[in-house]
């Protein structure tokens, strides 16, 4: 084990973290919405040094055959080299895909978007919602920063007009119909202990992570273990318990319009 990792291992044994935070403390967070003028919705989240920008764009298209009267949600993440020297150009790799799918899972399973209100013509035309996640700086825990920016952007998204089979982007005809604010909370596993919101140095030392996405009523709507370590039942229970509590704190910061 390298020196840095060993140092963090020794610290966490005493419940200390390299930046002085408590094990269940997340870094200072800011959420700014409506930062991109051409997008229907947008949010810039900073979580410690991590910065993620998410934009929401809407189009009209065909629904999925098995859900003919529901709008369609598509979440994508681009891990570009601007955010970290370890990212490479090219189509999304497994890390980018997993990130997008975890965020998607939280929004979809919590039914955060009222997709039935997005039907224009059953079976033929529905609103397609593109949530595009663009990390700008990777200082650890892209998952939570991305999930929070996605839901913050959606809650301030304004629907464009639709007339004569064309989307009129200049018009803002109302808010995107939203119901829930799913918040992901990610823990790193370090020396058998859970640390909430790992920063980039901690991320390079942890053996695995667990993300718990919660709803306001305390329900769990998504779980994801990542990395090559192992979890015990106790760790899973603890992660869920802390996520419900801390998720509520973050949820208060999500503005609605």
């Amino acid at each position: 084990m390298n020196i840095q990792k060993q140092y963090m291992f020794d610290l966490i044994a005493k419940n200390l973290r390299i930046d002085g935070r408590a094990v269940d403390e997340f870094r200072p967070i800011t959420i700014e919405t409506n930062v991109i003028s051409q997008a229907e919705g947008s949010a810039l989240v900073t979580l410690g040094g991590t910065k993620v920008l998410t934009g929401v764009k809407m189009e009209v298209g065909e629904p999925f055959p098995d859900k003919p009267n529901e709008g369609v949600l598509i979440v994508n993440a681009e891990l570009s080299p601007i955010a970290a020297p370890t990212f490479e150009l090219g189509p999304p790799d497994e890390e980018a895909i997993e990130l997008a799918r975890i965020v998607d899972r939280g929004i979809r399973e919590s039914k955060a978007i009222d997709t039935e209100k997005l039907c224009i013509e059953e079976g033929k035309k529905v609103w397609i919602i593109y949530v595009d996640i663009q990390p700008l700086n990777h200082d650890g825990n892209l998952i939570d920063a991305s999930g929070i920016s996605a839901i913050a952007a959606l809650w301030t998204t304004k629907m464009p007009g639709y007339d004569n089979e064309k989307v009129i982007y200049e018009q803002k005809v109302g808010n995107l119909p939203m119901r829930e604010k799913p918040i992901p909370m990610t823990f790193g596993c370090l020396n058998g202990k859970l640390i909430l919101d790992p920063n980039i140095i901690e991320e390079n030392a942890i053996s695995s992570r667990i993300t718990v996405t919660t709803k306001d009523n305390g329900n769990i709507c998504a779980l994801q273990k990542g990395g090559v370590g192992e979890l015990t039942m106790e760790m899973i229970e603890e992660a869920m318990r802390i996520s419900i509590e801390k998720g509520r704190e973050i949820r208060k910061l999500i503005k609605t319009q």
Binding site: P92, D93, E94, E95, I97, E98, A100, R101, R105, R108, E109, S110, K111, S208, I210, K215, G218, N219, I220, C221, A222, L223, Q224, K225, G226, G227, V228, G229, E230, L231, T232, M233, I236, E237, M240, R241, I244
Partner: protein, 229 residues
């Protein structure tokens, strides 16, 4: 509540496991859970090219999960999808903790999983098969990795969801678990449940894994213990 095929809530689908079914691979296995069938092939440890990918401290584990185009009711387009890429990743992360990769620095172990029939639980069938194939190939392991999914339909917690049950279930929770260490190496959930329910679903899945673990061991014995001649 009546489940399909008269299954009890904590009952697995009919399970078949066979080890050593492919001749060219170093290790192989087939696992069938009801109508879901996955085949896994393992190559390695073997030399890793290109050299710059080599890790001087341990072997690299590479894992590829794919669905055959004919495996689903509507043909699945060949080639990786975002879903299959994610599953490849979480599968690799489910198997890696069980392997002594440090024994083979600079080498690679390749795991290939193909789902030939898909009726829910494909990633869990794949992990069960891959675990058997790794043991079959003689890769050093801390223990076997077992996987199964569980959910909740109405008020009942149910084990090993099959295709048609996925929609009725308020959650789909696959796990990969190492029974001899009591640790989880894969944990995912789609759903909407209170924490206490999630814990019950996980514990039910653990019970399912303990049963499947014995079936894995029996399958390995079946191939490797031959009758006296």
């Amino acid at each position: 509540m009546e489940r399909m095929n008269n299954r009890k809530p904590d009952e697995l689908r009919p399970v078949t496991m066979k080890v050593g079914i492919l001749g060219r691979a170093d290790g192989s296995a087939m696992v069938r859970l009801g109508n879901t069938v996955a085949i896994a092939a393992v190559y390695g440890p073997r030399e890793l090219h290109p050299k710059h990918l080599q890790d001087n401290t341990k072997a690299i584990l590479q894992c590829n999960y794919a669905m055959a185009p004919f495996s689903t009711i509507e043909r699945a387009r060949p080639g990786p999808s975002r879903r299959s890429i994610e599953i490849s990743k979480v599968t690799r992360e489910a198997l890696e903790p069980a392997l002594f990769l440090e024994e083979f620095p600079r080498a690679v172990i390749d795991v290939y999983i193909i789902v030939t029939q898909a009726n829910a639980g494909t990633r869990t069938a794949g992990i069960n098969a891959a675990s058997l194939a790794l043991a079959d190939a003689g890769v050093s392991m801390r223990g076997l990795v077992t996987a199964v999914a569980a959910g909740k339909i109405g008020d009942e917690f149910v084990l090993d969801l099959e295709g048609e049950e996925e929609e009725q279930s308020s959650c789909d929770l696959p796990i990969a678990y190492m029974p001899n260490e009591k640790k989880f190496t894969l944990l995912q959930m789609d759903g909407d449940l209170p924490k206490e329910d999630v814990e019950k679903v996980i514990k039910l899945a653990v019970k399912g894994c303990e049963i499947l673990y014995e079936k894995q061991r029996a399958a390995l014995r079946e191939k490797w213990i031959k009758e006296e001649i």
